[in-house]
Amino acid sequence: MRTPSLMAAVLLFCFTAVAAAQTTVVSTQLRPIEEAEKMRNVLLKGAADPVNFIPEDSNTYQTRMQAELAAAKGRVHVTIALEGELAPLDAMGGLTDVSDVIRQLSASRDFSAGSLELAKMGGKAFRFVPFLTNTYIMAANKKALNYLPRGADLDRLTWEQVIEWSKNLKQATGAAKFGLPAGPKGLLHRFFQGYVYPDYTGGLVRTFKTGDAEKMWADLRELWQYTNPRSTAYNFMEEPLKTGEVWVAFDHTARLLPALTEKPGDFVAFPAPAGPKGRYYMPVLVGLAIPKNTPDRSAAVRLIDHLTKPKIQALALQEVGFFPAVKADVGKLPQGTRIAAEGVLKTFGAKDGKAAKLPVGLGARNGEFNKVFIDTFQRIIIRNENIRTVLNEQARVLSEVIKAANAPCWAPDESSGTQPCPVL
């Protein structure tokens, strides 16, 4: 009796020893099962230590990380999240200074200057190591191109032309073929924060209820007539694009990519349209951060070193459609990825292109900030309420959120110094 239990204890000990040697990564990115598998089997292959990659829904991520950070013994070595998702953790003092890691890694690779600037999160020291970048683009089924308005250039579209295009599509096919990711897990709030609001008003918070904003909502209401009503259920636009329910869509590049790679012959990708105030786009930066109670900092640094190697970064573009944060030779890409890359490069390189930053300084109020835009959309577009009334009411909510977070303005809004960003 005694021998088996002794053996079991030894086995259990060995197992825990192996488990302890694993590097644990909690990530809000690369979460869809295909991407997570690519991360585990391709990108993490050849890492110095075995890695336990845990994708976490961005909703539960904050709750989990707060609990992890409050625990006496930390279990997460490295965390991967968007700049905006790392901000609340940094605000509560959860992230360690990684300036030494960046210095050490910069000897063997070139981080892009723009992403390094963002990695400081407005302070002096680096709070995370840039991992991958991305942005939002448009994708269209080639069948839709026949209905483009006369004289429209796909790479230089305006919102006015997109409305006309969607109208043409509806008239020709009898179905609404434009689509937006307005589902519960969709990224519709970014459509407002980085695209239509800046495009029409030149700002976001300051200009929330201006006359320009009113015009924007009126235009969106028109566009909505030609938008597939199932949009309120779409989380990833690749799905309706693949089935043909939608022919023209806006979304995060990674959320369009599966359609482009599966049917590369069917789709084109191009920059989001421009409005009266310009062609804004939202660069997305994914960072690698080390929690303050990481169980083993040197293991964390070894993993960060691996994931920021130019070779792995090039693989990331090929496999999961995120763009390198360091200079990397991307080599020969599969056709679908090439189409997406073209869309992104055209966005980054557009002559009239201007960057709208991801919301900064909102800390734990990020979620409520996004809610303002989703609620405004729900009320004006879905419940058909009066635009002016809704804007005035939601402006009050927005102002409260900004004040509670004490967040100064960020681009494209004009600076407010250290004061909370005003809603004009």
């Binding site: 829904d57 909703n59 539960t60 904050q62 709750t63 609340p88 009898g174 179905a175 307005a182 589902g183 519960p184 009503p229 199932r230 309120t232 259920a233 089935t243 329910e245 734990a364 109020r365 990020n366 979620g367 409520e368 996004n370 809610k371 609620d375 729900q378 009320r379 879905i382």
Partner: protein
Amino acid sequence: MFVYRAAYCSHRIAGAKIIKINRNPEVVAYCLIAPSVVFLCVLFVWPLIETALMAFHQPGRGWTAMHLQKMLSDMNFTVSLKNTLLLVAAVVPVQMAIALGMASLLERAPRGRSAFLYLWTISLGISDLAAGLAWLAILGDRGYFNTLLNMAGIVDQPVNWLSYQHPLALFIAIFIAEVWRATAIVLVIVVAGWQLIPREYGEAAEVFGAKPWQKFTRVTLPLLKPTIQSALILRTVLAFEVFAVVYALAGRDFPVLVGEAYNWQGAYQNTHVASAYALFILLISVAATFVYLKALKVRRETLS
């Protein structure tokens, strides 16, 4: 074994020394339920109190009603309350009726009774979300239902039943999914209660010439009252917590209370407002239970 446990228990209570073997059944009972009481206090009562406090507390600002205000003034609050109440009012009575019907069929089944019972309770083993997704596959725009309508020539292209544009269809879809998913639990309770009714009562009624319907309404139903009461309480409280099925089928288009609590906790990152929602759901559940206890008052003698 029982005596041994009692002895052990009194030994623990008295301290280090075994004083005497206590055979007092009350002490035995308390000792036996003590672990579960401790368990409930630590894992249920304590978090509950924490939640209640969180709904009225803001770090740095002390006690406040601002979270409650935020909940009440939220654009989805009234809608989600209305939707939840409507759903409870529609689903629970129908489930009760179906469960009673199924239970009476089972009672008469000459053979294969347990096979039927197993078959009918399969849905109990399926998670809420899986049930929602199964119905999404049926009612979605590329689902079986649309295919069927298309084959029958009723529609020429898929209809988006599950969108905000068809609120009634959306409601019916959720209603059907909920009835399908959660009737089994009511059935199990009713069947268990039915088996406790002595057959002699029914036979006596038949001797006096009662028709089947009369036998059901005059004999079975009154004797089932305590069972119906527990089934109603359990099912109503669970119906107030409806979430995953709605989430799968309607997303944001059909707000319900628990869904809003989930959104405030997850997406909007405000635990305080989420706690206020949780507390509100608890409150209406308690109120509903109270109403059932009052309305379906069970006399003590019918319990024995």
